[in-house]
Symmetry: C2
Subunit: 295 residues, 2 copies
């Protein structure tokens, strides 16, 4: 990864943090505790992988920064809400997230439930306000809502819950992750593109191929890290998948084959970007980042 | 209420039931259990007060049925998701809703969480798809998302939770209900109007005044019914507010003054409709229905 990419990444993460700060109601607004909890979980300097994808894809289509800012913040709000709900006792029951106590630990379960619900609504408020063409903004609402719902992220989580203790085939595992994490990563790429223009069929196909490859790679690497890294490095409880008896790429394929698969998916992602030429360099670098990350 | 109104109401409720059936993914779609649970809670022949408001307000502006159908289904999806989450153990912990076991009782807590999350997303999918002008549809997304979020329904629920055991003033109680139930009722009226056209400032003011009055009336009657009706009539646990030590209009004003207040709010609602003349007759009748309902 080039120096240029590192600089761009830090700048974009900072821009996203500022956007979330601006677009989530302040703690002066009633109800103050709810807004405090929403900000506690959203404004924590996360990796912002989805916003980075929004901005990198937006660059391909010369998207204006003001639209990218809202698209990036909206998809991150959806991601953050899903983490808050996922950490609750009735789901993964996790006490630690990004190195901090989870929302239901820091506050209480009811607050965690409402923080997630309100962040989901805030994502659609964010897309529906601000400048930009109504048709493009409506297309973004559609992409993000579909990626979040029962045929996207929520559906993937439901399959995940139903899979605990089951021996899934590789196809079933892929199907679960295509929905659980893949749908929102794909939406991130599409949102960035739509900020510039409504992509045509060929462009959509290339972007979907790229997003599909990095989506699976992301999950394979997640499974590898869960099996090999420690909690301090991850900022969340390590070894949880095995402890919870959840099917993972590592449990299905083993560690070496999982690493090979991640490498292959990364190459697939690069190949999908060929039609876009040099202009796709940040998307290239993001694919490398996703596969090489240590947390 | 006229025979015509009764017929219109039954027809509209039936249309809404069909729309929800059509717009929520079927049990043949993966994940099947999540879709089954979404349909279990949404397709139960509820009163559909919010969809009735959408259709009645839409009539004022000659809104096309195909747009009203989606607006009505979307607001009902938000309402249903809020009930599912509100019934969970960490919130109101209710076992019975509309005479049936609540989702976390019939299925489990994780499913209830995901059903609510997915229904919220489905509401925005519903508004973003289908025919209609993009600017109007985006305006609907904005109205519904704002009404649902931390400055609307979710905010009201957060205030409600924080108010248990506290002696609220009448102003504080009103503020809570303006958000908790009022925001979505107001959104229903605005959504119906926007299906026809974007209302001007005078029309918006009149619709807000109407919706504000029926929103409070709705809550006052809810409190009266909770204190006076039995669980079988309500289809949910009666006397729960007092048992939970929650502030209500009945506990604050007493039963007689609460009934008088409901009557006054109904007259306020009628008065707000005067600029629309005879064309607002279904909105008139709905105000009466809200105040006179027995469950």
């Amino acid at each position: 990864m080039s120096q240029d990419f590192q600089t761009w990444m830090k700048h974009t993460q900072h821009t996203c943090e500022q956007a979330l700060d601006e677009l989530i109601p302040g703690t002066d607004a009633t109800p103050q505790q709810l807004h405090e909890a929403m900000r506690y979980t959203a404004l924590d300097g996360g990796k912002r992988v989805r916003p980075l994808l929004v901005y990198a894809a937006g660059q391909l289509f010369d998207a204006p920064p003001e639209l990218l800012k809202r698209a990036a913040a909206a998809v991150e709000m959806i991601h953050v809400y899903s983490l808050v709900h996922d950490d609750m006792p009735c789901m993964d029951d996790d006490d630690l997230r990004r190195g901090k106590p989870t929302v239901h630990i820091r506050y209480n379960e009811a607050t965690a439930l409402l923080v997630g619900d309100a962040l989901q609504a805030q994502a659609f408020i964010t897309l529906s306000e601000g400048p930009g063409d109504a048709a493009n903004k409506l297309a973004m609402v559609k992409v993000l809502a579909q990626a979040s719902g029962s045929l996207g992220m929520c559906g993937g989580q439901a399959i995940d819950l139903a899979s605990v203790g089951l021996a899934l085939s590789r196809e079933q595992l892929e199907q679960m992750h295509r929905l659980k994490t893949g749908a929102l990563l794909r939406a991130s790429v599409m949102l960035g593109a739509i900020c510039g223009k409504l992509p045509d069929a060929t462009e959509t196909e290339a972007l979907h191929a790229y997003a599909g490859a990095i989506g699976l790679a992301f999950q394979v690497v997640d499974d590898i890290l869960d099996a090999t890294a420690d909690s301090a490095t991850l900022g969340k409880t390590a070894g949880k998948d095995a402890a919870d008896n959840k099917p993972t790429y590592v449990s299905l394929l083993g560690l070496d084959a999982s690493r090979q698969l991640a490498g292959q998916l990364c190459r697939d992602a690069h190949k999908a970007l060929l039609p876009f030429g040099e202009k796709a360099h940040y998307l290239h670098d993001l694919a490398d980042l996703i596969v090489q990350r240590q947390a």
